[in-house]
């Protein structure tokens, strides 16, 4: 025992010292906002690790492409060409409608919704940690990704970027416990907040009175009131409405539209107007929406 004792004291001193450093680091990371800059460089430093962890997927994809037959590819190509034709034709029609809509909005003096540009990003890592539902994308600040940038797939909104490094960025999904999004019911224009409840579960619509007019199957789209997400993007479908006798609020669940289970590629949504003014400041988008009508007036004057 004599031999172990002094050793254990030395151990304790070293361990407590390191634990102390860890505690300080955690506190700084949580409470000290400027540390985000340091985090940016650290994240950039370790971003090669993401491509390492993505490599099995890449190898799998490569093997899959090797196994494909030429005739299958030609057939698929033909199919995609036809699909593309249909979509292009539909797109033309939509553009005409959009132009018409903008003209009408101009007449009404209502704010014009700016067109969002989009970009495809690859998902490098999906966090399987049960507490956080995050994904890592293969594009970062050098490609113009910014904080709070919305991401979506072809079916609906997925979430938003919350940590940007030089070549990668980290996004939080709408089903994360920490995430909430302002949505609008398309049937009766009622706005509410859809809160994440873990990606195995549906979103929760909270803070509603028992008299709220909600039915199963109602389509929820983003309201755009949060100043982060573009308006009128599909988010979820109401899946269950339960009235709990013991609680004063109803329990309403909505299934996300986006295919959260199988994420390979996502769309990054751009709004140039936001990008120029937003940055890290959370209050900026609110001011932006308030100022919108006036800026439109100016545009009209110019026109």
């Amino acid at each position: 025992m004599n031999r172990i004792k002094p050793n254990s004291i030395e151990l304790s001193v070293r361990a407590v010292f390191l634990l102390f450093i860890c505690a300080i680091l955690i506190c700084i990371d949580v409470y000290f906002a400027p540390f985000k800059m340091v985090r940016f460089y650290l994240d950039t430093l370790i971003s090669p690790l993401h491509s390492v962890s993505h490599s099995p997927q890449k190898i799998n994809d490569y093997l899959y492409t090797l196994s494909l037959e030429k005739s299958d590819l030609l057939q698929e190509n033909q199919q995609l060409k036809e699909e593309n034709l249909y979509i292009k034709a539909e797109n033309k029609q939509l553009q005409n409608l959009e132009n018409e809509n903008q003209k009408l909005r101009n007449l009404l003096n209502a704010p014009i919704s700016k067109d969002n540009s989009k970009k495809v990003a690859q998902v490098l890592q999906i966090n399987t940690n049960p507490f956080a539902f995050q994904i890592v994308l293969d594009q970062g600040e050098s490609e113009g990704i910014f904080n709070n940038q919305p991401i979506a797939d072809e079916n609906g909104l997925l979430g938003q970027v919350f940590q940007v490094a030089l070549n990668t960025s980290r996004a939080i999904l709408i089903c994360d416990y920490q995430h909430a999004i302002s949505v609008r019911n398309t049937r009766n224009e009622m706005t509410m907040i859809a809160q994440g409840n873990g990606c195995g579960n549906d979103l929760i619509l909270d803070f509603l009175p028992t008299s709220a007019d909600i039915e199963i199957g109602d389509e929820l789209v983003s309201s755009g009131l949060d100043g982060i997400f573009p308006a009128n993007y599909p988010v979820a479908t109401v899946a269950a409405v339960r009235v709990d006798q013991n609680r004063t609020v109803p329990l309403i669940y909505a299934t996300p539209k986006a295919n959260i289970k199988q994420l390979r590629y996502v769309l990054l949504l751009w709004n140039e107007k936001f990008k120029s003014t937003l940055g890290d400041d959370v209050t900026a988008p609110l001011e932006e929406t308030i100022e919108q009508p006036s800026s439109n007036n100016e545009e009209q004057n110019v026109l």
Binding site: I4, N7, S8, L11, S12, R14, A15, L18, L19, I21, C22, A23, I24, L25, I26, I28, D29, V30, R39, L42, D43, L45, I46, L49, H50, V52, S53, H54, P56, Q57, Q125, I126, N127, T128, N129, P130, F131, A132, Q134, V136, Q163, R170, Y177, Q178, G198, K261
Partner: protein, 155 residues
Amino acid sequence: MFYNSGIILFTLFIGFFLQIMPFPEMIWMLKPHWLLFILLYWILAIPGKASFLPAFSLGLFYDLFSGSFLGLHAFIFVFLSYIVALRAPFIRNYALWHQLIIIVILSLFYDLLLYFFQAILLNMINLSPLIFVSSLSDLALWITLTFCLKSIRLE
């Protein structure tokens, strides 16, 4: 006794590599704590020379990789390493089944600590009992570790 620090670093590197590899999403709860138990194994294997610096630095790297708060995993790794290092002379001489009990406790403790930190830092109270399933795969991991690394050690 002489231990080649190159081999230790190599196995730790592999542990980190396995830790950051994607795990099938259907069975995420079965993902063993590769890195932690390789760390703990070496702390047990090298008496009196245990260093917490690998645990600390690898924890920091893992924090950066997984996007958790910086220092979170480092804290847990160092803390568990410390507990094991304190009791190392005893644990090393236990029978394997006895060690396995300790491994399960450590694995549960790891998950609980992680949950505890998330709960106080993010104000979250959702606790999924599934996170404790990983202690079972940790058992299998520890058994393979003791046999594989022992042969490396003896060489």
